[in-house]
Amino acid sequence: MYKVAESLPVSLPTPGVARPSASQAGPCPTSSPLLAIYGCATMRQMVDLATAQRVCWDLSIVLRALLLCLVLWRRNVRSFPFFSIYLSANLLYALLLYVAYSVWGSLSVVSFWIAWGSQPVISCARALAVAEICRLFLAGYRGIWSLAWRLLVSCATFVLLYSFLASKHQWDFAILGANRALELAIAAVIVVLLVFLRYYQVVAEPTLRTLAIGFCLFSCFAVLNYTILEHWLKKYAGIWNFVEVISYLFCVLAWTWALRKPFPRPAVDPALLPGSVYRQLSPEINLRLRLLDERLSDFWRAEAPRS
């Protein structure tokens, strides 16, 4: 699954691994945000939260496995190849972490690097899955898709750059900043796409819409989560991962609901008009609009002095 969130060792009590007590853990380290998250997870007051998180984490792994099975069983893998790859990679990632925690412990450096080092792969799979959903929304509408993908790529690039620039320029926060930038880009792309669909009055297929909403809401939530973590590191480090696990759980539930049935491939693509119609009509409409706009402007200016 996608992130550290659902798999980070943070407050995840690993079966068979002796977890240090609060006294052993000592004060929460703050030299690095990631290490701080790591250390705070072992505090005694977080034990209940850790248990709840472990239950949710286990549940999310089971749900992810079920969702993947559902995708395969309903043969939706043909419609959503990248989404299926993302789900598989995510599940594999979670299982790998589970094994890593069992073997090396949740506080080992190896587990740490597995948890954070796999992020680029998962993030790429996630971005491809979102791109695939965007493409499916406008399947059959060649004209506006050619416009939409340029718009979405520009939007994603802008948001990524802006997020990097606006983040703290510290090496310690680089991974968090990168994750947040990606999440914000995903949320922005999906929102822009849905606005685009609404503008062109393209009816969104319900399955795709639910998948997109799941991605978008989770990404929005993740951005907020990272931002709060960055701001209140000490206070928030103990629960941020739990909050993210919960949000991802709901996201997986929404996807499962959306994919409970086979994805309906359209029986027939929309009948497209000849290209000449657009070429003839569009400049004409724009010219009229421009004239109308100018006329409105003129007549306002002409009437204003009457007061």
């Binding site: 059959g140 509408y141 907020l224 701001h231 009948a271 609009l289 109308l292 409105l296």
Partner: protein, 192 residues
């Protein structure tokens, strides 16, 4: 609170508001609701009532009322006419929006779309909406004389007539698009 914190939280809130707006049920957009069959007759509707509105807004009527009737009656008549004019302005804008929507349907059903054309139309329609609001404010504040709305109506009518000629060619395909929009798998362009 740091600038970064406020910035990212604001962006997320804005995205969530936009998401809710984009997902709003099209059935709630009653103001622009039209029947698919009316695509076959995309010409002006409310703008054709312009002569009647002009007659109703004639200043001579108000002068006559002021001289022969009471000032209160003339004031009441002016208010009534202002209300009618605002309503007429709304309907004109609906006519305009309807034509714009047809243009979007044409764009969405075209194999090639010019980015410049689309952005230009978006910009112009935004500006038109702003100016319409200004006219509305002008009417309320008395800065605009009511009969001058004829200029706006004239332009909408011209656009509608030209569109009608072009859209006649598209009639059959538009109906086909309407059928697709109401197809069981719910794919297609929403033209309602």
């Amino acid at each position: 609170m740091s600038f970064t914190f406020i910035l990212f939280v604001s962006i997320v809130v804005a995205l969530l508001i936009l998401l809710a707006w984009a997902l709003r049920n099209p059935a709630q957009r009653k103001a622009l609701k039209i029947e698919p069959a009316s695509l076959e007759q995309p010409g002006p509707r409310h703008s054709t009532y312009l002569p009647l509105i002009r007659q109703a807004l004639s200043p001579t009527d108000l002068e006559f009322l002021a001289t022969r009737g009471s000032p209160g009656l003339a004031r009441r008549a002016r208010k009534e006419r202002q209300r009618v004019t605002l309503s007429y302005l709304d309907e004109l804008r609906n006519d305009f929006q309807r034509l714009l929507r047809l243009a979007r349907v044409v764009a969405s059903l075209s194999p090639e779309v010019g980015a410049a054309q689309e952005f230009e139309r978006l910009r112009l329609s935004f500006r038109f909406s702003c100016r319409c609001q200004m006219v509305r404010v002008g009417l309320y504040s008395g800065l605009l004389v009511l009969p001058q709305l004829g200029g706006l109506s004239q332009m909408v009518s011209e656009l509608a007539v030209r569109m009608e000629a072009a859209m006649q060619e598209l009639g059959e395909r538009a109906v086909l698009a309407a059928k697709l929009a109401s197809s069981p798998d719910q794919r297609g362009v929403d033209i309602t």
